[in-house]
Symmetry: C3
């Protein structure tokens, strides 16, 4: 189904979604009316309802109680607030877990987890699947035609607390998944390399989840278990989404947890994204991360990549502190507004929050909200009203796409998962940190960056970055080779292209998948000690990794000037086809990446849209001949930019030049549009 924009305004004109999770069931009805009034004051136009309502909506199996939800939706509708309605499957009630204890998830060590928290179920549980389907049916039947409802919110943050599960039902599902994938047990043995350590299987029945063992378990088994776990949860989503779609034409989504590319979660969001009518994401800052605004930008770029460049929805973020970190740091003045505008700048058509009203009880009562414990008379709520006013002026950008990204970062979930397996040369070397390093350097340089898989169409890009893509399929390698042959510039780091999709080494010299295009042959890895750094002849210092090999056709740009392989090639460039391929054999500093990338950019003839000081973020969106520049000033200095157009927040022309205050934001409808992507 084609998703264009949510009908958030009565006149049908587009609007940026603004609002958040709303839990009327936690409050007396008197509060509901105050809620709608204050939502209106703040400019809220969209709330998510019912996410954790299962226990109240279905008091006993097959018995439903919808009265309170009817009333809440009616009240919201009267107030003009649109609803993203949940199917409430996120957390089964205590009565369910008590009745079906086998539905509870089991840890890797065999401990069956209890309930009383949230998301306490195994995705392979037939009881859970039956019950969630029944509930979904009831909800969609009842509310498909409700005038407040504009979207369906399936479940919540899949896999946040219950995945992977290692129970016997999961084992049976895993065996079925393997049968479907491999057909024969011999194919499993070949893929898993079970000739090693006496691991040969003679029957699918013998196969277990990768439970706690005395030492390293088969790595391909672990990789397949991540794939299976993602697919098993996806089956849950698809079953519930199918029920909804059978009853309603409204768009269906589930909120991803895409923070830093999903971190260590067993969800392949690339695969999931294809099943969404619109991609949506939750994002929270990590307090201890001094550059968490850059991490936010990276995650937004990643989410936009999942959506293949289309607009997406920010389903949750926070007005200030969260509650689940060791120290939950409140946002500084202007930070909430900057964060929201960053998401919109990078493709979001909604900036929603967890949550509307701060809870009084429970585990999230110290999570910030649009309406804090202190109530309406608070600095925070005044900032919320200001943000609502800002977003209200940006309806025209809805549906536009981010443009100006000449650079793409290659990101495969399989590559990340495989990089995080054990018994590797160095625990310091995984996909996510190296990806972050490169994105950060590009962010500081003012470049906009996209994310795509190795097998995706890269023809729109001039430069492709391959950061620790340890696992690379034949198809991915061929696609990257074609990219360079056609004139693209590839920049690959160490520990990329090492294994195939089964985590088997590509023999004959590393990196087997890319050796030819890079013009190098690595013989041996020389990881570095924990805090060790080594000097390079150019581009500063390296850490984590070095290696020894030979250059075939490549030219050496930098050698190791110290360390275990002093004198060996560290950074190389290979002319290949119409393009070129750089290789970086160590983890550079941010400055080193910037210095190297300056050469790459010069060669590829790419420059940022405008020249700005570091950490003044400028992103372009464009649509049908109109373009907008988003400017977010993360620095403590005012900044002046040459931008001609209309300052939408101020409501006035820039006259060619714009000053954005320290910590401030601006959105300019450009007088000279940029071509659509």
């Amino acid at each position: 189904m084609a998703f264009e924009h949510l009908p958030l305004r009565d006149d049908g004109s587009p609007a940026i979604g603004f609002g958040g999770d709303y839990y009327p069931e936690q409050w007396d009805r008197a509060v509901w009316k105050e809620d709608v009034a204050l939502m209106t004051e703040a400019g809220v136009n969209l709330v998510s309802v019912g996410i954790f309502s299962w226990a109240l909506l279905e008091p006993a199996e097959g018995v439903y109680e919808f009265g309170w939800l009817d009333d809440a939706l009616d009240l919201l509708h009267e107030g003009g607030i649109r609803v993203d309605l949940a199917n409430a499957s996120a957390s089964p009630p205590p009565w369910f877990s008590h009745k079906y204890p086998q539905s509870l998830p089991v840890r890797i060590d065999g401990v069956r987890l209890g309930y009383g928290s949230r998301q306490a179920f195994c995705s392979s549980s037939a009881d859970y699947r039956r019950a969630s389907a029944a509930l979904t049916t009831k909800i969609v039947e009842r509310y498909a035609a409700h005038p407040a409802v504009v979207m369906w919110h399936v479940h919540n943050e899949y896999g946040c607390h219950n995945d992977p599960c290692y129970c016997d039902a999961s084992q049976a599902s895993f065996q079925s998944w393997l049968r479907a994938k491999y057909g024969t047990i011999e194919a499993v043995n070949e893929a898993w390399g079970t000739a090693f350590w006496s691991q040969h299987y003679y029957s699918f029945d013998e196969i277990t989840p990768p439970r706690a063992t005395g030492t390293f378990i088969n790595p391909t088994q672990r990789l397949d278990y991540s794939r299976f776990s993602s697919d098993d949860l996806l089956e849950c989503f698809e079953a519930e989404a199918a029920i909804i779609r059978a009853h309603s034409p409204l768009p269906v989504t589930t909120n991803f947890m895409g923070l830093t590319m999903g971190l260590d979660r067993p969800i392949d969001y690339w695969k999931w994204a294809d099943r969404m009518d619109v991609v949506s994401n939750d994002h929270y800052l990590i307090a201890d991360d001094a550059r968490n605004f850059q991490e936010l930008a990276m995650t937004s770029d990643y989410i936009r990549g999942l959506a293949d460049g289309a607009p997406w929805l920010l389903m949750e973020h926070s007005s200030s502190a969260v509650n689940w970190q060791p120290r939950n740091i409140a946002k500084k003045p202007g930070e909430m507004i900057r964060n929201s505008l960053q998401h919109v700048a990078r493709g979001a058509d909604a900036a929603l929050f967890f949550q509307w009203r701060a809870a009084r009880a429970g585990s999230e009562k110290f999570h910030s909200a649009l309406l804090p414990h202190a109530g309406r008379d608070s600095t925070l709520f005044r900032d919320v009203v200001k943000l609502g006013a800002y977003l209200g002026k940006l309806g025209e950008v809805v549906g536009s796409r981010v443009v100006g990204a000449d650079i793409v970062i290659i990101n495969d979930t399989d590559a990340r998962w495989a990089s995080e397996l054990d018994a590797h040369p160095s625990i310091d070397v995984t996909t996510v940190p190296e990806t972050r390093l490169w994105h950060d350097a590009l962010y500081r340089g003012g470049y906009t960056t996209d994310f795509r898989r190795a097998t995706d169409d890269l023809s729109g890009y001039r430069v492709a970055i391959v950061p620790v893509q340890y696992l690379m399929t034949d198809a991915g390698a061929a696609n990257l080779r074609g990219f360079v042959e056609s004139g693209g510039t590839l920049v690959a780091t160490y520990f990329s292209g090492i294994v195939n999709e089964n985590d088997h080494i590509r023999l004959g010299g590393y990196p087997g998948a890319l050796s030819e295009v890079l013009g190098i042959r690595i013989e041996e890895f020389f990881p570095l000690l924990q805090s060790e750094t080594i000097a390079l002849s150019e581009f500063g210092a390296g850490s984590k990794w070095s290696e020894r090999g030979t250059v075939s056709s490549a030219r050496v740009l930098a050698e190791y000037a110290s360390g275990p392989v002093q004198g060996s090639a560290a950074v190389t460039r290979n002319a290949f086809g119409k393009g070129s391929a750089y290789y970086v054999g160590t983890s550079l500093t941010t400055g080193g990446v910037s210095a190297l990338f300056a050469q790459v950019a010069a060669e590829a003839s790419i420059t940022p849209f405008v020249s700005v000081p570091q950490d003044v973020e400028v992103v372009l969106r464009s649509n049908a001949g109109t373009s907008w520049a988003f400017v977010i000033n993360h620095t403590s200095e005012d900044v002046a930019l040459s931008l001609d157009g209309v300052d939408l927040l101020a409501g006035s022309p820039t006259g060619g030049s714009l000053t954005v205050d320290a910590g401030g934001v601006a959105v300019v409808r450009l007088s000279t549009p940029i071509g659509d992507s």
Copy 2:
């Protein structure tokens, strides 16, 4: 039953209890005689016997073997040594655990613990309760009339290793406890805030202990489980005490583990203390704590508070090193004597030890004792003899009460437990460290401090300190308000009065319970990063916490001079009724507390009894017109004090002035008594 003093001397005169745990069953009978002789040499007058004797006293269920204990008690009696006789229920024997495996405790992750250690039982086990009652009955029947026995020692260090338990029997008991507390399941839902995260219960049968879950479990469920666990163990104590009291008029106690207010144990000692005939405590120094002598003082003050000011008994401490810390540091010269005198100074009428004779085998063989492995010919034993002689001169203080405390620290077990729940703004902010900070500053200033609950009678105090009392009941808040209205000075810190007894936020601006009396309204918390400090305009620097709000009627004493809320009020004072209320929005340094408290003390007109250098501890006890000053010099310099009276240890008048050597102690019967408290 009124407890006055133990009959430790044949002539009926009072004596400070001196001695310790005694385990004749670990030694040949030849050793017993040497023990009694050496006890006599050391001045020992009281030993605790039978604590871990269950396995020997009851070789099989219902079969008893008391011969060796008869002989041991007779021998002690002949030597004039009094006995604190245990009911031996502390550790069920292997045969019991083997026969009743369901009696073994279960961890939060479902692992049932084994035996072969100690205290391996679940307090909800009907088998354990039946067996311990039977044993208690046999012991009290046999020894109630034994002339050596002067007191009953129920169990040992309740909850040290086996609590809370998460087994199915505990679950059933918890459900019963909840039924009794709440009456209806709806009341549980309201108290626990189960509208959150789909946690609504429809039956008590659905409720479980807060077992391991995927993420945060309901916090009020956790809080109630701590309350339940304390009550469940208390039922064990009360059942055994009731059997004893039915047969014997002698005082009954159980030894608390009050170190630093019980740390993270699920025991509400305030509630337990009411059930004791005399409060007793075990205390051990933490080697890594450079100011562990101040911690000792604080714990003694806390124990005295539990006893409502009455004398209490130090049931265990150590002559030198313990065995259970990573590095078990031996005591320095004079340290054992200083420690013992500190306890007596702060209200103890006994200074007992674990243990009389150092064990030869088992897990505590490296725990120090009054008689070390090296035997009688040792520096340690000579110090023990010296301590015995000192204590022998202090019989006259028995029954007196500590006087001179104008300051009370408010301490509720519920507040501490709740402060330690998860998903809070900062893991650095809990009750115990902030309480320690304030006690330490007052200790350094020479002030004596009491401990009481928020709901206790505070009319005898001029200043009440409220350190991170995160949970505050309506009754507690009203009592503190009344204290200020009546002219008292309240000093409350950040994160006090935030929630009610159900851990529900007091809405409308923090700290809801104290906003009016403090004249402030906090809107948002700004916890600090781990090692972050911020400057204040007065009182130095803050750490851990800051906050933003508005001052209603209060006056600002200090502002934040840096950090996320620079310019906001950090320390305030509010005139209220006849008194005043200070508020401190961050964690000050010890110096900052001292500087602020200097203002408070001046306003409240309180001063230390004598002016002494820091860490020269002076405490007063008083009784029926006689007062004693205890002086413990923790410094490495001799100190001179103006004290007129009789130096009891030297046995001579001070002539108005007393010099206490570096590391030394003195007890002076004052020529001018202090009024009783």
Copy 3:
């Protein structure tokens, strides 16, 4: 059976074993031929085959499939490569674990581990024992007469991942073991000191493994469980070895994991070594250990001690990085050759590797091999060829023994295990680190050191070092006393001789077992804080430990010049019989040990064979009137030595003087032989 040397050459002349684990089952048959060709190129003469082949050799219970192994052995034989054939019992197949789930090992917390890794069995499992015996029988019947086979490799690295096990079968075996050891339950109670903490047992049936408990479990129970676990695994070895020996006269071994004296593994290698036809060992460097070449030397000395001085076999080491450390550091230029020569210098007659060809899949694919992923055209393989050539020149040293060790380090497995029990004075004080400290100081000084048990014949040594031998039997103490009485020099450290074989304190003053011979009586231990150091009047500074006692007949060599026992004796010397006994009451620095040992060496008239700079390793082997000096230069400077003889690697006479390059090695057949040991 007398083991002299393996028949590795067709002409019957001795050869150093060179090769490694070989896994033909992981590769296509085409690769096998390349393997044999490259083995020949490298000089490989011995490979271990079949270690992890159970799953392929026995596809179902009682069904065997030997075809591929027949072919592989034939091919190796054709190529002249000898085979160390495994009985393949190291890892039962998935079908076995699936069929017999009770055979899987159980952790201390009751979690039964899964399979899919390796070594997933409990040594007490009757099913495992029956199945491994059946497999062993089939293999030895089939291959006893195969001309390639020269040795039997039972199992692999016993106890690496599955021991100790805490399952019910282990419990039953433990009870039987205790019955056999103690006869009566009363003897168990006496040995375990169960009068403590109500631990008395009335029946062997009540006894469990030392499973997870609430606090410290009985320490003697833990010690006996380590002994039992070692014995239980040893039963597995002996059962399989007996089957082999009944069919074949070839030598039988199993590869030990002797790294740093076995670290924390529950294997008593001293006991095991007696059951081997030839001792063999696996050794890997720890990357984070800056002096891991000295650790290698120490481990080799330890292994040679296990073999009672006879030659042993290095069954596995690595050509470069391993795969199981956090950061797996590759070997530097020359390091592989230095390491191999170190092993041979210190008594190894083989230098084998894990593994021949680097794996393509599985958990060890990043473990280095003789043939790397890059293949034959690689620096690493060229170094392998060089090493093969070197070893090929050293056949004449086969069968010789290391000579020149005047110093013996006392090492009892019981003492190490007991030192690692809990509830001790300090967690910093265990046998292994103190042993390493002393060995390192002696290594730096150029001394060769042997290892023996306290009860072994020490008559060949002049100096015996006793480093933290906390547990000492009466027999051991008597033997050490006799050693001194006869003129030997004893050097004992703190925390030696404290307990007897049951972990019972030797009463009356520490160290009970050695007080008289040392002429001291320690009263109390004063462990130090974690980073605390204290000054000594001689020999520098101490850490970890200090103590207070009295000197009876000893002379004080150094006092504590700071710290808690300032002024007490720290280092003493006692003349006793014809010898002398030194005592060191703290952990010295390496420099302090060297300074003290200079006095000891002068007194004992021992000097290194040649004077060389630190870390130039010189070790002598000798046999029937011929002696060889191995020189390994670990420094970055060339070194010249006065050595007259034939440089075997260069193939030329030294002319009295030899220069070994920085990082280089040399082996000289001395013109003047050293007397055999």
